[in-house]
């Protein structure tokens, strides 16, 4: 965990509301694991006041990547940064995906909805290099919500896309696509990141199919490193339901621990 006040923004790619940033930040890159995130200072003044949590989309040698969608004030300010600027990053934070060694050689589903695809590229790369066979599911509202499709494909991953409006790939929700594929294949594990309704539906599917899974959750965060107790969600652990910190105990939780009723509905 490092504060890098001078992470240089090296490259910016964008597709409408979606942005892919590449930073030079050797110390954070060295420590990074898939599923971890950064807290990014988006403003010089107090508007907005807090840093913004954004997943690591990739980390390689001295560089980091993030992939984000403009959702409000903070991400809009972030999207306006230009290559060459220095940005204040805090990270890597949280517990990432845990990669079971016994998955080597097996097929693994990585399911991303919308901006939830962000951490899955990094994960898929790690899975592949550890010998597993990731299959990436990438769902969006429309074809313009799948900006990473090419990047994922050209990196050699098997990518199955879905769009709610049918403009690309499977027509319908990404969860339906997963369900359809589960009739044909038997993955050893599932990782997912996306909006709560998608994840809740996936949880139901996994439970039905007895498929083990880890989900990366979102929550509004005050600090990102365990100091404020602001980011909690209800988690079932050791037979008890408690509020655990998404930033420190997560953001990745095993499927069976997540209590969906108490999700952030604000």
């Amino acid at each position: 965990m490092v504060i890098d006040r001078q992470a240089r923004l090296v490259e910016v790619e964008s597709w409408g509301d979606y942005f892919l940033f590449t930073f030079y930040s050797p110390e954070i890159a060295r420590q990074a694991q898939p599923g971890q995130f950064l807290m990014i200072k988006v403003s010089e003044n107090t508007q907005p006041l807090l840093r913004r949590p954004i997943s690591l989309h990739n980390a390689e040698e001295n560089q980091l990547q993030i992939f984000f969608q403009v959702a409000g004030t903070g991400t809009r300010l972030l999207s306006m940064k230009k290559p060459g600027e220095s940005i204040d990053l805090l990270g890597p934070l949280g517990k990432g995906f845990s990669l079971q060694p016994e998955l080597s050689g097996r097929e693994i589903f990585c399911v991303g909805g919308g901006r939830g695809i962000a951490p899955l590229y990094y994960l898929a790369r790690k899975l592949r290099s550890s010998g597993a066979r990731p299959v990436i599911f990438y769902g969006g509202r429309s074809r313009t919500d799948l900006p990473l499709k090419n990047r994922l494909q050209t990196t050699g991953f098997e990518v199955l896309v879905s769009t709610d409006d049918g403009s690309d790939g499977f027509p319908g929700l990404v969860t339906s696509l997963v369900e359809a594929e589960l009739k044909k294949r038997q993955p050893a594990y599932l990782y997912a990141c996306g909006p709560d309704p998608m994840m809740e539906k996936l949880a139901e599917i996994c439970r039905r199919k007895n498929l083990e899974a880890q989900f990366s959750l979102e929550s509004i965060m005050g600090c990102g490193f365990g100091a404020c107790w602001g980011c909690v969600r209800k988690i079932r652990r050791n037979g008890q339901e408690k509020y655990l910190k998404v930033c420190q105990d997560g953001p990745v939780f095993p499927l069976e621990e997540i209590v969906w009723q108490e999700s952030n509905d604000g």
């Binding site: 965990m1 504060i3 200072k41 107090t46 508007q47 907005p48 006041l49 807090l50 840093r51 805090l90 929550s219 509004i220 965060m221 005050g222 600090c223 490193f225 365990g226 100091a227 404020c228 107790w229 602001g230 980011c231 909690v232 969600r233 408690k242 509020y243 108490e262 952030n264 509905d265 604000g266």
Partner: protein, 303 residues
């Protein structure tokens, strides 16, 4: 070399900067960022006797210049704290202050008594001002009588110095401060958060799971400075000021208005090393103004 030390009478601090309760975890969370010994002190998160689950999420909302929280004092309870955390804080060369909570007045005394049996605690901060626990945000610090009673009860069971933390959600902050002083508090700290609320237009629900919460951050600083000014003129015990301190300049405003020391809260979230930067900034400012001792700033306002 500027002398940053301040003397609260019952406690000497190497500098006037204390990390505020609820924003500094149990201290350990900040070890990765800097040596805690550099701080004047820190206040750990509020403790009840029993562990507490805290409030339903969402627990945070940002507002212009501010943050509303409704954590609801989630925490491990005083027994687990003394067993698991306190030993890890042993040996620190900074003032470890414990924030004491209670559902009713007697619980404050129970928690204080329990803590008094342990080593390594420099002072207790009585959190009679949390707006996130009782119905409608009520708390003992909203009444001089309840304040007096609570402080008195705690004094009876512990010899640890007491800092009584006041609520800004009152008509007359000086009346409450005077009650705390009369009951024997060694110092007064203020302000806790202002009771606040935000509405989500999409869902037509309150943005916080617990409906209301406490507002902190730069937005409340002018209210906090005013209250510190009023209290410092009314009581003889030292005053510890807080509310929206993000820079050394902010800290100096509170000191001029009468604070002997300051606490830094929300700023710790934005910049984990905020306290350090503020300490550094105090030295820089003192040097630039030819000041030898930072404590001379306290109450130096010409008004």
């Amino acid at each position: 070399m500027v002398d940053l030390s301040v003397d609260l009478g019952f406690l000497k601090l190497k500098n006037p900067v204390i990390a505020a309760s609820g924003t500094f975890g149990y201290g350990l969370e900040f070890k990765p960022f800097y040596d805690l010994d550099l701080l004047g002190g820190f206040v750990v998160k509020g403790l009840y006797f029993k562990p507490r689950e805290g409030n339903r999420p969402p627990r945070l909302v940002e507002t212009p210049g501010g943050l509303i929280n409704s954590i609801g004092l989630q925490g491990i309870g005083v027994e687990a704290f003394c067993r698991e955390i306190l030993p890890e804080l042993a040996g620190l060369k900074t003032a470890v202050i414990v924030n004491v909570c209670g559902e009713e007045e007697d619980e404050y005394a129970r928690v204080a008594e329990y803590l008094g049996r342990h080593q390594g605690i420099a002072a207790l901060e009585l959190n009679i001002s949390c707006p996130n626990v009782r119905e409608g945000g009520r708390c003992p610090a909203q009444s001089p009588e309840a304040t007096y009673r609570t402080v008195k009860k705690v004094k009876r069971v512990t010899s640890l110095p007491l800092i009584t933390k006041l609520s800004p959600n009152v008509t007359d902050i000086t009346a409450v401060a005077l009650a705390a002083e009369e009951a024997g508090t060694e110092a007064i700290s203020l302000i806790n958060t202002l009771l606040a609320m935000a509405v989500d237009l999409k869902t037509r629900k309150p943005k916080l799971g617990n409906v209301m919460g406490g507002l902190s951050g730069p937005a409340i600083k002018p209210i906090a400075v005013r209250m510190v000014f009023q209290v410092a003129r009314s009581v003889k015990v030292p005053v510890i000021g807080m509310g929206g301190i993000f820079s050394a300049e902010d800290a100096l405003e509170f000191m001029m208005a009468g604070a002997a020391a300051v606490q830094v809260g929300t700023a710790n979230f934005v910049d984990p090393d905020a306290c350090l930067k503020i300490i550094g900034g105090l030295t820089t400012w003192a040097e630039a103004h030819g000041l030898k001792k930072i404590r001379e700033v306290t109450g130096s306002l010409m008004a």
